[in-house]
């Protein structure tokens, strides 16, 4: 089979698999968040937490609970890393230094999983499984909860109540993430992934050399790392490591895991607002952007115009033989557009233009399809903006899903989408102006600039992948990227929840002949255009200095 056909079949198989789970998974998640009954395990958890799962929260209470839970998560994870030498299963590693521990704690709690450490040489098994992997679950559950709160804002009328955060958090973890992750983890082991609590064991090879073969609870972490769109690898090589991702089939499973929930959330949204067609428009917009990115990167990687790639005969630097260009490109686009950030190949060595597409995928705001939960609320914010712009064109008060979009709603939506561009561009500019930026680059010229731009785009949009040539384990980068991750995650949540509260209080607006049909293909097209134009206008100058300059020079 030639590689073009294999690429097409591989992408098609993934799309078919995602289409098959879209309805059942989306409907299931809608049922989970609207169910009135509690599982016995959940009642036990609520008693331990001391929270009443049936108490409705208005947006300030919901937000306080989100922020309190995340703040405690950061402190807990920070302490865990600082004290790891005194804990069991530390494998003899030292405590993580303060700036790196701060960066890593924020990184995992904000669902970013930027890694300025190398797993196999820094983190013991207990910190990985009992600290980092816990946030892989709960940070994803927090994203789901906030998305569901926004959807309730659209679905409810004449109330300020958005549900109960503790109930949403626990249900997302227990009923959605845990069962799927457990199943996927066992399948990954069946395909060859490692799952043990052993430390590195030394073997003597046939040529007499010594080699340390590591162990660890890898498959359990790999499953939730992708399912929760987290991305933090057990090992430094992430999903390129054969113990995390042993073959072509496990690779497709991992890509499926990272796309499954984000692409099914629009169905959940459609169900909860009582019109599944509204969800189709959203998922169509997400899918079009994602597929365009997949095709662009696959084509450029197959052509491999870079000078070193031309001499080598292909773009295999930083890629594994068992994946090749096709399966690597598919993973790369899916991970950057879902805010996952796990990698099965190193993006720094991609062709210049491919790198540009990957950065563009992140600066779209992680909405195509975006992270677990965050992708849906990001895209709904964009939908609010697009409805508003359309309303301006025809001179009507804009309305969406029976809600008026008044100045307050538009201000909140505008604030939510302005935060990450501000963080990315300011962070990049400051790093470039100070000597810290240039000192950390592996590559010179435009590609070096791309490394810095990629880092802030990745951090502020909570992706976590890297042009990993950037030596980002410095006080400067650990701190500034840490703040970019923190603000990029939680400031938008403030505006999203405030918007949800404001929408939930409204009276229904009757549908008239003048109402924009937001479930039609035209609206999906406008959503795509709005997403691309807003990010394009904001980031074109920065992209020109980096990936475009590099890509057009060859």
């Amino acid at each position: 089979m030639n590689h073009t056909l294999a690429d097409v079949l591989q992408i098609s198989a993934l799309i078919v698999a995602l289409a098959l789970v879209h309805r059942p998974l989306g409907d299931y998640m809608a049922a989970v968040y609207s169910s009135r009954t509690h599982l016995r395990a959940e009642r036990w958890v609520y008693r331990a937490i001391g929270a009443d799962p049936d108490a409705e929260m208005r947006w300030p209470s919901y937000l306080r609970a989100v922020l309190a839970f995340s703040a405690v998560g950061v402190l807990f994870l920070y302490a865990f890393q600082r004290l790891q030498d005194r804990l069991p299963l530390s494998l003899g590693f030292d405590p993580i230094p303060p700036d790196q521990a701060f960066n890593t704690a924020v990184s995992f709690v904000s669902n970013t999983n930027w890694q300025s450490y190398a797993g196999e040489s820094a983190m013991g098994h207990l910190v990985q499984a009992g600290g980092l992997a816990v946030q892989n679950f709960v940070s994803a559950a927090v994203g789901l909860a906030v998305a569901i709160a926004l959807v309730r804002g659209f679905a409810r009328f004449r109330t300020g109540e958005l549900g109960n955060f503790w109930s949403d958090l626990v249900r997302g973890t227990i009923r959605i993430l845990l069962p799927i992750a457990a199943l996927a983890a066992v399948v990954l082991v069946a395909l060859g992934a490692v799952q043990s609590f052993a430390g590195p064991q030394e073997v003597q090879t046939l040529t007499g050399a010594a080699q340390q073969i590591p162990g660890g609870p890898v498959a359990s972490q790999e499953a939730i790392k992708n399912l929760g769109t987290n991305g933090g690898g057990f090992y430094n090589a992430n999903s390129a490591h054969p113990f995390e991702n042993p073959g072509g089939l496990s690779n497709l499973l991992e890509i499926f895991l990272l796309l499954a929930i984000p692409f099914s959330m629009p169905r959940t949204f459609g169900r909860l607002v009582g019109n599944v067609k509204q969800g189709y428009a959203v998922v169509a917009a997400m899918g079009v952007i994602w597929l365009a990115g997949v095709i662009a990167v696959t084509v450029v990687e197959r052509q491999a115009p870079g000078t070193a790639s031309q001499l080598a005969g292909g773009s295999m630097e930083g890629k594994e033989q068992r994946f090749g260009e096709g399966a690597s490109s598919l993973f790369a686009v899916s991970t950057t557009m879902t805010s996952t950030g796990s990698v099965n190949s190193f993006h720094d060595s991609y062709q210049g233009l491919s790198g540009g597409v990957l950065i563009f995928g992140m600066v779209l705001g992680e909405v195509a399809p975006g992270g677990v939960g965050s992708g849906l609320y990001g895209m709904l914010i964009m939908a609010v903006i697009v409805v508003f712009i359309s309303g301006l064109m025809v001179g009507r008060t804009p309305e969406y899903l029976g809600k008026k979009l008044r100045p307050r709603e538009i201000k909140l939506a505008a604030c939510a989408i302005l935060i990450t561009p501000a963080l990315v561009l300011t962070g990049t500019a400051v790093a470039m102006a100070l000597p810290d930026g240039e000192e950390a680059m592996t590559n010179a010229g435009p590609h070096g600039f791309s490394e810095v731009l990629y880092a802030y785009a990745s951090a502020a949009n909570n992706n976590g992948s890297a042009f990993a040539g950037l030596g980002a384990d410095t006080g400067f980068f650990n701190t500034t990227l840490g703040f970019a991750m923190l603000l990029g995650r939680f400031l938008p949540m403030v505006f999203v929840l405030a918007l949800a509260g404001s929408l939930a209080q409204q009276q229904p607006v009757p549908v008239t002949a003048g109402t924009l049909r937001t479930h039609r293909p035209l609206f999906a097209g406008m959503l795509v255009a709005g997403t691309v134009v807003v990010a394009g206008l904001t980031f074109f100058p920065a992209l020109s200095l980096g990936p475009l300059a590099e890509g057009l020079a060859v």
Binding site: A68, E120, G130, T205, Q211, G215, E317, T442
Partner: protein, 202 residues
């Protein structure tokens, strides 16, 4: 948002307890359960797919390794893996991170092409791309079927084996794409070399 005691302290207390409870559930029970199932159902995989020869473990089938002589140079008796920026040390995984047009990478590729061509007695234009590029993990256990075939003559000659026998080994160890279309074709270097060793011992 008012900062009175009730509205700030109560969620914080709930948060502390929630983090602890969810840690027990997802950070203790979940990995232990998965480890238990994995160790019972797939002990070989779960413990690293270790490969044995002469009754002892000689590496993992999923982790690439060096095949050098005593001086640290590539040993012509063995099939050679891809270049590695970490020297096939599983505790230092990761790639070169050099861009596709980077001058340093260009120089490394040029050097690798010449080295591989000279080592195998072929022209530089026959050298396949995986033979001159570093992998993502730096412990890639595989090479392309093309690179394995390129090494056949040299390996056969160094071991005093008939060329056809070694070529047959390569064919036997060539794995197609998973399910015919997922990922890429590859040859596992450790498994191929273990089979080669059996052939030479006979």
């Amino acid at each position: 948002m008012s900062l009175d005691l009730r509205t700030t302290v109560r969620p914080l207390l709930a948060a502390v307890r929630a983090v602890l409870v969810l840690t027990l559930l997802t950070g203790v029970a979940y990995p232990l359960l998965i480890t238990g199932v994995a160790q019972a159902a797939f002990p070989g995989h779960a413990n690293g797919s270790m490969a044995e020869a002469d009754g002892r473990e000689v590496g993992s089938a999923l982790i690439g390794q060096t095949w050098n002589d005593a001086d640290g140079d590539p040993d012509p008796h063995w099939f050679q893996p891809r270049p590695s920026h970490g020297g096939y040390d599983p505790l230092a995984t990761g790639s070169s991170q050099l861009g596709a047009s980077d001058p340093t990478l260009l120089g490394e590729v040029r050097e690798a092409r010449e080295q591989v061509a000279a080592f195998n007695g072929v022209s530089v234009d026959e050298v396949p791309r995986d033979a001159v590029t570093g992998s993502a993990s730096a412990i890639d256990p595989h090479i392309s079927p093309a690179y394995a075939r390129l090494q056949t003559d040299r390996v056969a000659e160094a071991n005093g084996l008939p060329r056809e026998d070694v070529a047959r080994l390569v064919e036997e160890h060539t794995r197609g794409r998973d399910l015919g279309f997922l990922g890429n074709e590859r040859v596992n270097v450790l498994e191929l070399n273990l089979a080669l060793r059996e052939l030479t011992a006979r």
